[in-house]
């Protein structure tokens, strides 16, 4: 069950869901990790997935991002039935996942991390090279859009704070065309100020029309940005959290 709290964020989102998952079941041998979970995500909304340890959150997002295949159930992507055979497929379709380890390399510069594996190129044949100027410009610009002023594009990721790294990972996913952004516990290791930065980033991304799936333990963080909430309990969607009537708005920018 999901609870709709759109009234809080102005106009209700009327778009059709980008991803719709119906009655997803996932069994690992005799363990039933997911027992019929339904979930959907629409453009420009933040759908929070809450649940205790072992509730099946991780299994569920891994199903969504193509790591696992559901045992039963249906995944619709933009209205069409879809089965992803690998995370790469899901990524190409526009489902990007920012895992907790962030896939960042501390010793490398922000630009090099940003374009890692997807470098902009110029020149032909033997002279094909990385377009560093374009890469630097894009990177600084995208980070500025997210509210981070880099010292320079050659700043090492290791010198960024946890929240800033999270933002780089989110900015990277969005820049490379994510329609759905799955954030796995993005605020779990962060302090108050950094958390509010990340929540502000989520809000910015949502305003660009990306659907955000926000997985969290922390109900307060979820309430701060969520449009809808789904609670997982023992592999099933369970009753929604208390209605978010007095949700703090301090994190919204």
């Amino acid at each position: 069950m999901t609870i709709d709290t759109k009234f809080h964020h102005g106009d209700p989102v009327t778009h059709a869901p980008i991803v719709e998952m119906k009655g997803i079941e996932k069994h690992f041998g005799n363990v039933i990790a997911l027992a019929g979970v339904s979930f959907d995500i629409r453009p420009g909304e933040c759908h929070c997935l809450l649940g205790d340890n072992g509730a099946g959150k991780s299994t569920f997002i891994k199903t969504m991002s193509g790591v696992h295949k559901p045992t039963k159930g249906e995944i619709l992507f933009e209205g069409k039935p879809m089965s992803f055979s690998s995370p790469r497929d899901a990524m190409e379709a526009g489902i990007a996942t920012v895992f907790q380890d962030l896939a960042m390399i501390p010793l490398m510069s922000v630009t090099r991390n940003f374009f890692m594996g997807r470098e902009p190129k110029k020149g032909k044949g033997l002279f094909e090279r990385m377009d560093m100027d374009a890469a630097n410009d894009i990177c600084v610009e995208e980070m500025r859009k997210m509210g981070i002023n880099l010292r320079g594009p050659d700043q090492a990721v290791g010198t960024l704070s946890g929240g800033e790294r999270q933002t780089v990972a989110i900015a990277r996913a969005v820049y490379f065309g994510a329609k759905v952004l799955i954030l796995d516990e993005p605020t779990s290791a962060l302090g108050v100020r950094q958390t509010s930065n990340v929540l502000a980033t989520i809000d910015r991304v949502r305003k660009q029309g990306v659907g955000v799936v926000f997985i969290s333990h922390n109900v307060r963080h979820a309430l701060a940005v969520g449009d809808r909430f789904t609670v997982l309990n023992r592999g099933k969607t369970s009753a929604p959290p208390p209605a978010a009537t007095s949700r703090p708005r301090s994190c919204r920018t």
């Binding site: 380890d101 501390p106 490398m108 594996g117 997807r118 470098e119 090279r129 290791g158």
Partner: protein
Amino acid sequence: MPTDAALTMEDERIKTEPFVARLMKRPELGAVGGVILVTIFFFITADRSMFTLSGIMNFLTPAAQLGILGIAAAMLMIGGEFDLSIGSMVAFAGMIFGALTVNLGLPLVLSIPLTFLFAGLVGAANGWIVIRSGLPSFIVTLAGLFILRGASLVGLKLFTGGSTQLRGVREAVEGDFLTPVFSGDAFGFVFNWLASVGLVDTFRSGLPKVPGIPVEILWFVLVALAATYVLLRTARGNWIFAAGGDRNAASNSGVPVNKVKISLFVCTACAAALVAIITVIDSGSTDARRGFMKEFEAIITAVIGGCLLTGGYGSAIGAFFGAIIFGMVTIGLTYTNFDQDWFQVFLGGMLLIAVLFNNAIRKRVTGER
């Protein structure tokens, strides 16, 4: 858009970074500083003739031979792996090259590519085993060190009928159009001209004391430039840094980590083959002790050049200067009154200082607190 730029740069919490601090973050810094220190040291202690043109060529030649290996080792280290078999590979490639030119009588245009092919295959095998087994490359290539050294001994005996030295390479390659590319001195005409106008020292006969630039120095510079270009300006360079920095993060981001690492092993083996070809043609023979201990010297070069043993950080230009330091110290001590055997003490000291220095630099770069 100047306003945009201003927006980007304006942040009251960011101090403008002083030039020195920016410089401190370059991986090459240690090696460049080392070159300056060593130069000052020899300026004070060594005979003046060390810094004449012939003296400089004298110490750049061994530096070049080691540097080609060191740069390849540096790239592999940045990619997060080691190759201890590189020295034995010089002997092995030398043996292959000798056998192809002397025993089979092949022209260089065939024997050189074939030597590279053999070396490349061994390198690929090394890389493949490291990747597939997930074992540290240290132990896999340590096995390679012994296997290749032994194979060179056995092979040489086989090809020469019992000797561990294969002679006759010079005669076999004489007159080959590729010989000048891999041996002798280049730009001799320039030096002859300089001598004729009195710009360089000459013998009494009027010939210049330095007949040209030894080709290995040109190869050395070429390899350094190519490696730097690949590392800093191509997507592949980015993949090398990424593969060495964190292989999981890199492959999650779509970097073909295994391919990158295997090709780096191939590159290292080919660098060893290049050094083997140059030195074998130069001396006219090959033996099983060729390249002895070069694996360690190459790694020292890379570390002095700013590479971290953990991978993901370093530079080819650093290794270039690291090799020059090495050459200066090896040859330079003969120009001084010091006992030459101080060399190893000096080397160990340099290595220790370099590692401590690199560690401090890494902390600065990653902002470890």
